[in-house]
Symmetry: C2
């Protein structure tokens, strides 16, 4: 069993880097704070007897050698970056939980047959640079490095430049090597486990996801002297798209969700009718056919809204992945570990996207969920109980041992 107090202390120490007044964490990917977080993680891994290497996407791998070091590693990990108004656990629990696994193995002097690697994936959140999980995506062959490097943040900085700026563009090629199994521990980010008073979620699937960027163009003019009937108000169009997206989500609930997260009117001046709006949309559903139906409804709806007001529009899908089924033997390893440890558990579908969803394409993969208070995430008040973290890391340890073999 892992050392729950040590794990909690490390979670709290990492949360200092980018701590927000409301008790959350703002450690956006590839910022100076992310660099600090990566350096602390490196130090901890080296103290736990690991060798840290970094690939060309800034993905970090802390390796604990196996008895037979030529065997492919069992990899455990998640991400250290956060949302702008993020919590202390989303992603971080999976990285520091994995670190706690190797710390425990070191304490107990346990040598595994397969090497074990603790992974920290770059830019999982997708908030500063879209899309999300872009670096595990490159690792899995979904994107090219060039595509990932050219992603741009709100200030016009590229992912590639920022990666080099903080000194975390390594030499290791991205992906292309065998992995024996990959496990990601994560908070559920939804209410089910807490509501049902369960310790562990055995994640069987991840839902499919489509992200869009929409630009609506009307005509900006004077708010005081432009009569209502002749206006081409891009913000009125955008408002109707927000309503449309909500309607599409509700029509496909309870399984589907649909969200407008960003919306930027231009020129954003009090007495100017907005001439342009840029906005983002996030659609998710465990059923790919339903997701395709939502896509169709979006395109038709946006076209109708724009025709009614006289707006031009561009609707781009910038991100898509189909629903993922995790690998049978890995899912079983998680379920067996929970049972063996006496934790209550159930099968669950992930609402959020995770690096594991990409790694599942190139390695046998599964995920472990722990409850989180009120299902709240992507919010500074995101919270978990120390015993939940302990349970999750214990399951991670046992599942890893099942695959890495003693």
């Amino acid at each position: 069993r892992i050392d729950g107090a040590r794990l909690w202390d490390s979670l709290m120490e990492m949360a200092q880097i980018g701590a927000t007044p409301k008790g959350g964490c703002k450690r956006l990917t590839l910022t100076d704070l992310d660099k600090q977080g990566r350096e602390l993680f490196t130090r901890w891994c080296e103290e736990a007897g690991c060798t840290v290497s970094v690939d060309r996407m800034g993905n970090m791998f802390a390796r604990r050698p196996g008895v037979d070091d030529s065997l492919p590693p069992v990899m455990l990990g998640s991400h250290l970056d956060t949302q702008p108004t993020g919590g202390k656990f989303d992603g971080v629990l999976g990285v520091l939980g994995a670190l706690e696994v190797v710390r425990t193995l070191k304490d107990l002097n346990i040598r595994t047959k397969h090497p074990i690697e603790v992974a920290n994936w770059t830019n999982e959140e997708g908030s500063r640079f879209a899309p999300a999980m872009v670096s595990s995506g490159v690792f899995a062959g979904e994107y090219t490095e060039e595509f990932a490097y050219s992603r741009v943040d709100a200030e016009g900085k590229t992912l590639g430049d920022e990666l080099r700026r903080i000194g975390f563009q390594g030499d290791l090629p991205v992906g292309g090597r065998p992995i024996h199994a990959f496990f990601e521990l994560h908070i559920e980010q939804g209410p089910i486990l807490e509501d049902e008073n369960l310790d562990i979620g055995v994640v069987t699937h991840g839902q499919g996801q489509r992200w869009y960027e929409i630009t609506l163009t009307g005509f900006e003019s004077h708010a005081g002297s432009t009569p209502m009937p002749v206006r081409k108000d891009a913000l009125l169009g955008a408002a109707r798209v927000v309503e449309l997206v909500n309607r599409i989500g509700l029509a496909n609930a309870p399984n589907a969700v649909a969200t407008v997260g960003m919306l930027n009117p231009y020129p954003n001046s009090r007495n100017v009718i907005p001439g342009q709006v840029w906005m983002t949309i996030d659609f998710r559903c465990p059923d790919d056919a339903v997701l395709a139906g939502m896509d169709k409804a979006l395109h038709e709806g946006v076209a109708a809204i724009c025709a009614a007001i006289g707006l031009e529009q561009e609707t781009k899908q910038i991100f898509y992945y189909p629903p993922v089924a995790f690998e049978e033997s890995c899912v079983t390893a998680v379920r067996d570990a929970a049972s063996k440890l006496g934790y209550t558990h159930r099968n669950i579908v992930s609402g959020a996207g995770h690096d594991a969803c990409y790694i599942a394409r190139v390695a046998p993969t599964a995920m472990i969920f722990t409850p989180c208070v009120d299902g709240i995430s992507h919010n500074e008040t995101e919270d978990i109980k120390p015993e939940w973290a302990t349970a999750g890391a214990n399951v991670l340890l046992q599942a890893a041992l099942a695959k890495a073999e003693i």
Copy 2:
């Protein structure tokens, strides 16, 4: 008659300061560019034989002495600041048209009984610092200097600090002195004069205006794992407020207009349900009772929208002025000048707010409108014909002479 070519040259030279690629002008109030514009204006005024003084709000007055310099001045002017995506003529025509009047009087060696002052009012646009026309508002006793100084821009800078930074906080007290008459020449910013093929609008009224800031607060959470029914999406509420504002405008058209100009969601991240939205509203109508009805409909509508989604809200009216009727003898002076010069004209109501609307409270005041192409303003493509500018400045000259007396 004024020198139309010289006026046009000056308009084009001033438009270089803050020129935008699309042919417009971005010279936001109290920026370095505004400082440059003010310095050029000062030089031109001094070359035209005027003495420039600046009051504590940065309002500039270029004085041409009268034969009896103890008489109150006839004041002519408007503003040199622009919208972020503004044009070359909104405000600038009124200032440089007034300058052209004193240049012409100098050329012709005409001495007027009353002194003539050319005014440039600070922060007319209200885009960087709300409310609009704040400095003519202080001049007219609507606001205190302290209120105006404490206005904050999007970056948190105050109007007072920016005024001092560019070196244009003068010593002159703001207002409190007699003005014999005030005339403001301005582009119509609407389509009527051009549609009716008229040279001049004799402005009889300015419409009433109410500005609001609304903050909607919901709960930010994960876009992928928060089921639709439990969401408190502040952006969905904001979208409904945009639709409400549009409905209120249409219900009171053709006279009333209603606009949402700014809308900022928070945290503005693709995969976070927005927890908060801040937005601005602009209502206008020439009929104060109708404007009051729009205010009531807004408050009721916002309350209902928020109750339905479970949002908190704060709706603040930050700016109000009732409809203005310009002074009879000044309006007559404008109409007579247009007739005498052989220009076609009609009475017209101003859709936009103007410094003249505040000055009307402390001095006999009227306005002169010239057509503008397609009624477009607050847009980089805003345009006028040189002969329209000439006609407007000729009317300004004759109206000024009628009041200043030779």
